[in-house]
């Protein structure tokens, strides 16, 4: 019975993330538009976009290979598995032990690997531009993320996300510089990984500045829909990650019962909305930086992560 219960929670989590990922994207767009005193598209517009894309024909470039056609499925699957393992409304997910935080980072790395390859498959200059910049960004963002994981894992004594989340609600966590540094660093990495301003602009097709959009330029129809959905999922994943590590309040513990799940879900919704609004506010307030400023930005994230890991040793406990 307990197993069925756990399965239900894990399954709910898995469907939940896919179901609400476009909503989060829509919310950010709407909030940004309102901040600019535009009316903006409806919050549900991303769903309509996905449906519309799914019903269109796929137009493949003449020399696109099987990899180009397989990549969207792989990218989506890897991102989905990663997102399904980050606690949203409840910790202690059934399969949380299959992949710890390092593995989740690496799963996202797999998705990016195939995305970058897909960008190069058609042999166009824009695909190349996107892929080459993406790997440059990733070459700094990924180590920064690993350093954040290090700080958290050294602190909580575990790389399991559930264990970290439980540690963060426990009373012995305290205020720590390390956590502050990790949060700042995680936000910076999240911005870069999700191709948000100031690193990349998700709404632009301005040729010289785009990174993510350049890689997916040749995609159309259902393939593009999958990639867009994967991008939304990734944004949701980062928001959930920040939520479950740095704002762990209200998250339901393992096998807590339906009432706790409901309140956990309510808390999650609030956190998500707050995260989306904060992102929109940040994006509106800041200007996009030049591509070659990005390494400095991410280098700072990496340094902050490393500094956080070093400063752990001055606090009590370690």
């Amino acid at each position: 019975m307990a197993l069925i219960h756990d399965f239900a929670v894990q399954g709910a989590q898995m469907t939940l993330v896919v179901a609400i990922a476009p909503l989060a994207t829509g919310l950010v767009r709407k909030a940004k538009a309102r901040l600019l005193r535009r009316k903006g598209p409806p919050v549900l517009q991303p769903y309509r976009d996905l449906l519309r894309l799914a019903h269109k024909d796929v137009v493949l470039a003449e020399n696109a290979s099987w990899l180009f056609r397989a990549a969207p499925y792989l990218i989506f699957a890897a991102t989905w598995v990663a997102a399904a393992l980050v606690p949203t409304f409840a910790t202690g997910l059934l399969f949380s032990w299959t992949a710890d935080l390092i593995a989740i980072v690496a799963l996202l790395g797999s998705a990016r690997f195939f995305l970058a390859l897909a960008g190069m498959d058609t042999g166009t200059s824009f695909g190349g531009i996107g892929s080459s910049r993406e790997v440059m960004i990733a070459s700094l963002a990924e180590p920064a993320m690993i350093m954040i994981v290090f700080s958290l894992a050294l602190l909580a004594g575990s790389t399991q996300l559930s264990a970290i989340a439980q540690y963060m609600v426990s009373p012995n966590v305290g205020l720590r510089v390390t956590l502050g540094l990790a949060l700042v660093s995680l936000v910076m990495v999240g911005i870069a990984e999700n191709a948000r301003i100031p690193v990349d602009n998700p709404t632009t097709h301005l040729e010289l500045t785009m990174v993510h959009e350049a890689m997916v330029l040749e995609y159309s129809g259902r393939h593009l829909a999958l990639i867009e959905l994967a991008a939304s999922l990734k944004l949701l994943l980062y928001l959930s990650l920040i939520g479950c590590i740095f704002l762990p309040w209200g998250i339901a513990p393992m096998r807590a019962g339906w009432a706790a799940y409901a309140s956990g879900a309510a808390f999650y919704a609030v956190k998500l909305a707050a995260g989306c609004l904060a992102l929109a506010l940040f994006e509106t307030a800041i200007a996009k930086m030049r591509v070659f400023r990005v390494p400095t930005f991410l280098g700072a994230a990496l340094m902050l992560g490393l500094l956080g890991a070093l400063l752990l040793f001055v606090s009590r406990g370690l």
């Binding site: 299959t98 498959d121 042999g123």
Partner: protein, 668 residues
């Protein structure tokens, strides 16, 4: 005695080498020799496998070599592990050679040395006294040098061979000194005797330094790596695979055997030295790899990166062992050994892939390749698996060993020394950087060579390679997958070797629920490659099913969109150089003093614009160039010695003799 089965393979290999000398020019020689080496390699593997299963160790003493010492051979669990790696690599290379060897223009330069090289590697692992070890080591170096020189008329190969020979003799010399120190004043050269007698702390540290020079130069530790990217690519591809995949592991074996087994209890700062070298090697190696355009040279530099990774694991194990923290030491050593095994598999696979590309197109330069995924689909698939594995992406095996290493790094707060506590996370950052660079590097390799449009007619007309090569590559890809999704079995197999060195091993992984990887406790960390693989497979299929159920199935082919400016010429694609440009701008100026020089002709001028990039190899410029200069200078100065009279020569000899006698008189 099953463990000594591999010892019987050595004469078999040597006989094959002799046979090859006589029949090399005949057409059937290639097939005959490679089939025979494949069969003997299977025997090596079988013997090693029995050893890994816990078969009793055996020792043999042959009345050869030094009087009183003889030639001692012994195979314990550590030897068995490396014999297995060597046997598997030799088997793969032999079978690959069955197909690849047909295109060999000078088989008489390859066939005799190939079995001899295999014999040399097997002997090193089996040797049980210093003399036999050094002799086998030198034999391995020389035979591999002969293979590097197989195509000696090709530009730069002779230079590569020269540098390799110099560095190999230097490495052997360092090892010779190390064994001299280990043997002590009584000259006990048997490993058993060396093990029993521990040198003083100073001499032990000196031995560590010498071993880092000797084994490190063979493995490719920065700054001793300079020969490796020259020599490995110069050899025929299956030999490159052996050199990168297996010979570097033999060097790792030598390091482990001497430092962990023979040297006695470690000191904690040894860990720092090895960690620093390993971290620097990992990052430097992959940065070099990122800026190369020669396919095989990229792979050789990436070998350096992986060696750095392995040395980080070994350094951690040393430091933990010095602090008597056994669980962590065991974890770190297991991670290092696991990565050594994994690297031997995927690096062989990638070198085979580059060999297939080389035979199909005659090109090693990535700037002239492209679009091979259409012409060589099976090779492209296998190489993709290798690229994913070496980029440490789940669920393949590279990630499993990387994950284990990170788990060992996360135990760093347990160190009592502040230096280690703070230094180990910094090394972790270096490793994370190198892993991310490796992914970038292999996106570049695969994207430029296999994807996109062909950049030369050779690439456009390429044809799929032969079935032997394909079979080997696919088999290795399967091994990558299996070792990635079932890492528990591999780790259990490493258990006896780790046990023999550190007196403990990791908890039995294959007994864990769901075959998870649980290095310490389940609440601390666990990873399950099998389930991740199944999840990805399941969610990809569910997605595909749903998409094909609901979405439009129509697919049209059309010209690439490319923002509305499609260019028919493949020259507008990103090249290997331009792909690396962002990373070069960020890290190249720091590490390689990269400078760009742009020559833009004024409007109306018909000259083409030019962009030149200068990279400086700081290791070469700061270490080797001054050294070479000093040697040249000394040679110039000493040149006068060539033109002395006989009386002067005699007086030189006389003075030297008296000086030596004086030294003895003063010291004793």
């Amino acid at each position: 005695m099953a463990l000594l089965l591999p010892l019987w393979c050595v004469p078999a290999f040597l006989v094959l080498a002799l046979v090859a000398v006589s029949i090399a020019r005949r057409p059937m020689a290639t097939r005959l020799i490679y089939s025979a080496t494949a069969i003997v390699s299977i025997v090596v593997c079988a013997g090693a496998f029995l050893g890994l299963r816990g078969e009793q160790a055996g020792a043999v003493r042959l009345p050869l070599g030094l009087p009183g010492v003889g030639a001692n051979f012994h195979a314990d669990a550590l030897s068995a592990l490396f014999l297995f790696i060597a046997g598997l690599g030799s088997l793969a290379a032999s079978v690959y050679g069955l197909g690849y060897g047909k295109h060999e223009t000078a088989p008489q330069r390859v066939l005799p040395f190939f079995p001899a090289f295999l014999a040399g590697m097997t002997l090193v692992v089996l040797a049980d006294d210093a003399f036999t070890f050094l002799l086998s080591w030198e034999f391995m170096s020389l035979t591999s040098w002969a293979l590097v020189m197989a195509h000696h008329r090709v530009k730069d190969n002779a230079n590569a061979g020269y540098v390799y020979l110099l560095m190999a003799s230097f490495g052997t010399f360092a090892l010779l000194l190390a064994f001299g120190l280990l043997a002590g004043a009584d000259g006990q050269y048997g490993f058993e005797a060396i093990r029993a007698h521990h040198p003083s702390a100073f001499y032990a540290s000196l031995v560590l330094f010498l071993v880092l020079l000797g084994a490190g130069s063979k493995a490719g530790l920065v700054p001793l790596h300079v020969w490796l990217p020259l020599a490995h690519p110069a050899a025929p591809s299956h030999v490159s695979a052996l050199m990168s995949g297996v010979m570097t592991k033999i060097a790792i074996y030598a390091f482990i055997r001497i430092v962990f087994d023979l040297l006695g209890p470690p000191v904690w700062w040894w860990g720092i030295a090895v960690l620093a070298l390993g971290g620097a090697t990992a990052v430097m190696g992959v940065l070099y790899a990122l800026f190369q355009t020669d396919l095989k040279r990229v792979l050789a530099y990436s070998t350096i990166e992986n060696i750095g990774f392995i040395f980080v694991g070994l350094g951690l194990a040393l430091a933990f062992a010095a602090d008597h923290f056994q669980i962590a030491a065991v974890l770190a050593l297991t991670a290092a050994l696991f990565h050594a095994f994994n690297h031997s598999i995927f690096k062989s696979l990638l070198f085979f892939g580059s060999g297939a590309v080389l035979t199909a197109t005659g090109e090693r330069d990535m700037e002239k390749l492209g679009g091979l995924i259409h012409r060589m689909p099976v090779t492209a698939f296998a190489v993709l698996a290798g690229c994913v594995a070496i980029s440490a992406l789940p669920p393949l095996n590279g990630f499993a060993s990387e994950w284990l290493t990170f788990q060992a790094i996360l135990l760093s707060p347990e160190f009592p020394q502040w230096g280690l506590k703070l230094f180990v996370p910094a090394v972790g950052a270096l490793l994370a950087l190198s892993v991310a660079f490796a992914a970038a590097c292999f996106v570049r390799v695969y994207g430029i060579a296999f994807l996109g449009r062909p950049r030369s007619s050779a690439a456009a007309d390429a044809a799929e390679t032969d079935r032997f090569s394909l079979a080997v590559m696919l088999a290795l890809a399967v091994v990558c997958l299996l070792a990635g999704i079932l890492p528990g079995y591999v780790i259990d197999a490493l258990g006896p070797a780790v046990q023999s060195l550190l007196g403990g091993h990791m908890p039995k992984q294959s007994a864990m629920p769901w075959l998870s990887l649980v290095p310490i406790t389940k609440t601390r960390s666990s990873y399950n490659g099998l389930l991740i693989f199944l999840f990805i497979a399941a969610s990809a299929s569910i997605t595909a099913y749903v998409i094909h159920l609901l979405a439009s199935k129509a697919t049209r082919r059309s010209a690439a969109w490319d923002c509305g400016f499609p260019d028919p010429s493949p020259l507008t694609q990103y090249t290997a150089g331009s792909f690396a440009q962002p990373i070069r701008r960020v890290f190249g100026t720091l590490v390689f003093r990269a400078r760009e020089h742009i020559e833009m002709p004024p409007p109306g001028d018909v000259r083409p614009a030019k962009l030149e990039v200068h990279l400086e190899d700081i290791v070469w410029d700061s270490v080797y160039a001054p050294l070479a200069g000093a040697v040249g200078l000394a040679a110039d100065r000493l040149n006068i010695l060539q033109f002395l009279t006989i009386r002067r020569y005699l007086s030189l000899v006389f003075v030297a003799l008296v000086a030596l006698l004086l030294v003895i008189a003063i010291w004793r």
